[in-house]
């Protein structure tokens, strides 16, 4: 799965949490632009774990801010699982 596809999945899952959000893009800052609180972010991670069938430890997302950065974490964890 390439960057764009992972980004698209994350945006889809974000819209499940906040159906009224508009213009979520690759550069969107998940916490600052969408005002997601820490629990909502963790719930998003849980949904992504289920979608990609991987474990995303919370410390791995500590430094991620944008949708694109989160997609990067998902991809590297997918690679680790396959390795």
């Amino acid at each position: 799965m390439n960057d764009e596809e992972v980004v698209a999945i994350i945006i889809k899952e974000l819209l499940v949490i906040m159906p009224n959000a508009s213009d979520i893009a690759s550069e969107t800052n998940i916490v600052r632009d969408l005002s997601l609180d820490s629990l909502a972010v963790m719930d998003l991670v849980m949904a992504l774990e289920d979608y990609f069938d991987i474990s995303i430890p919370l410390d791995r997302i500590a430094d991620t801010e944008t949708v694109f950065q989160l997609a990067g974490v998902v991809q590297s964890l997918q690679t680790e699982v396959r390795a």
Binding site: A40, E49, D50, I54, S55, I56, D59, R60, E80
Partner: protein, 405 residues
């Protein structure tokens, strides 16, 4: 720029809550008259939000032992146990706790928060993996920040989800540690502990259960949910607090694990904080004896819990799934919950206002915690106030009440 500018949003939210009248985060009790009654702004107020499950805060014997320990050992220990040493009361409480739980070891902390923070963060090392219930208390989340171990959450009270998530964890040669709670503090629901034990065993993981709200409350002898579910042998570490059913303050961990004494020189929230004063420890020692023989108190507590829970349902309120001493009413919005809470306090009833993000699934809750010391008259009065205000605010419908009430 002010160093507190980062809390601008919190300032807005806090002011918003305070604008409705009283400040729910700093209610001042002029007097505490009994485990179930206090005085707020000159008004006698029923206390239905203080986790005083067995009403032991005014237990005569506990007060007497506390007073004599206070006279014998002074007001404080002025330091930590590793630096200033332990007092006889600390050792006695640890020994009594171990035998109460039928375990080899016990360790006393200064608060329940520190017990969770310390034990969870110390047990989970870099190669280990912590797996916690998504609705865990803040102290468990804070432990996750302190540990170098990766952390995964599983869906609240869902053993199958736990299995799925454990299955995804890559083993780095370390241990997996699963954390859950006996009674969850916000909604009063219990963990499906038998099933969680089964899943934990399948993966050879360690299991920690925080029995903060269930110690003294559940199980024939008050040993909590693990006793009630008959799985005590399968829980590796029990954590708990003295600030609820035992009516004082402090926290603890009990376990059968070998080398337990190492925790006392490895666990920083134990090592680098002042220990409990003897007066507090002495009251806990006495209260623990009451808890152990407290079958009648527990029967009264559960009968009060069933009564309050069923009366709230009959009145048309939306309450948590399990009957337990925590009865949480779900309101449509935080504005409604704030106004409702203020109206209750002004009428002489104190409950907890619980708002997101401190609540599961962004719920706005009025959280009641019942005690064995509450009289039926007090509970009836509380339900009547809830009903009156609920109708005034349009939360419940009077027609429904007439039909079923």
């Amino acid at each position: 720029m002010s160093i507190l500018k980062k809390f601008e949003e919190l300032r807005g939210a806090y002011n918003h809550v305070k604008e409705a009248g009283n400040d729910p985060f700093s209610v001042c009790f002029d007097e505490i008259l009994s485990p179930t009654e206090g005085v707020v702004s000159g008004k006698k107020t029923i206390l239905l939000g203080t986790n005083n499950y067995l009403g032991l805060t005014f237990d005569k014997q506990s007060i007497e032992t506390a007073v004599s320990a206070l006279r014998e050992n002074g007001t404080g220990t002025t330091g930590s146990r590793i630096a200033n040493g332990s007092y006889g009361w600390h050792a006695r409480l640890e020994s009594n706790l171990a035998s109460f739980y039928g375990r080899d070891h016990a360790m006393v902390f200064t608060t329940g928060y520190q017990a969770n923070l310390g034990i969870i963060a110390t047990l989970a090392g870099r190669d280990d993996h912590l797996v916690i219930d998504a609705d865990s208390h803040a102290c468990i989340y804070d432990a996750c920040k302190l540990t170098p171990a990766p952390v995964t959450r599983f869906k609240h009270n869902d053993p199958n989800d736990l299995r799925t998530r454990l299955g995804r964890i890559k083993n780095n040669g370390g241990n997996i540690i699963v954390v859950t709670e006996g009674i969850f503090s916000m909604l009063g629901d219990k963990a499906p502990l038998k099933e969680i034990v089964e899943v934990t065993k399948e993966f050879g993981a360690y299991l920690i259960v925080d029995e903060a709200h269930s110690m003294g409350v559940l199980g024939k002898h008050g040993r909590g949910l693990a006793e009630e579910c008959g799985v005590e042998d399968d829980v590796d570490f029990i954590l708990g607090t003295f600030s609820k059913s035992l009516g004082a303050i402090g926290g603890f961990c009990v376990s059968n694990i070998a080398d337990f004494d190492l925790l006392k020189v490895a666990c920083r929230p134990y090592m680098f904080t002042a220990s409990l004063p003897s007066s507090v420890v002495a009251s806990v020692v006495t209260a623990l004896e009451k808890v152990e023989k407290g079958e009648l108190l527990r029967e009264k507590l559960m009968s009060n819990a069933r009564y309050l829970h069923s009366k709230m349902i009959a009145a048309g309120f939306s309450v948590g799934p399990d009957v337990s001493p925590v009865v949480a009413l779900r309101l449509q919005s935080s504005e409604m919950a704030i106004s409702f809470w203020n109206a209750l306090l002004n009428e002489g009833l104190y409950v907890n206002l619980a708002l997101p993000p401190a609540t599961p699934a962004n719920m706005s809750l009025l959280r009641c915690s019942v005690s064995s010391s509450h009289s039926k008259i007090q509970i009836d009065k509380a339900v009547a106030l809830f009903t009156k205000i609920g109708i005034e605010f349009g939360v419940i419908e009077p027609e429904l009440l007439a039909q079923f009430g």
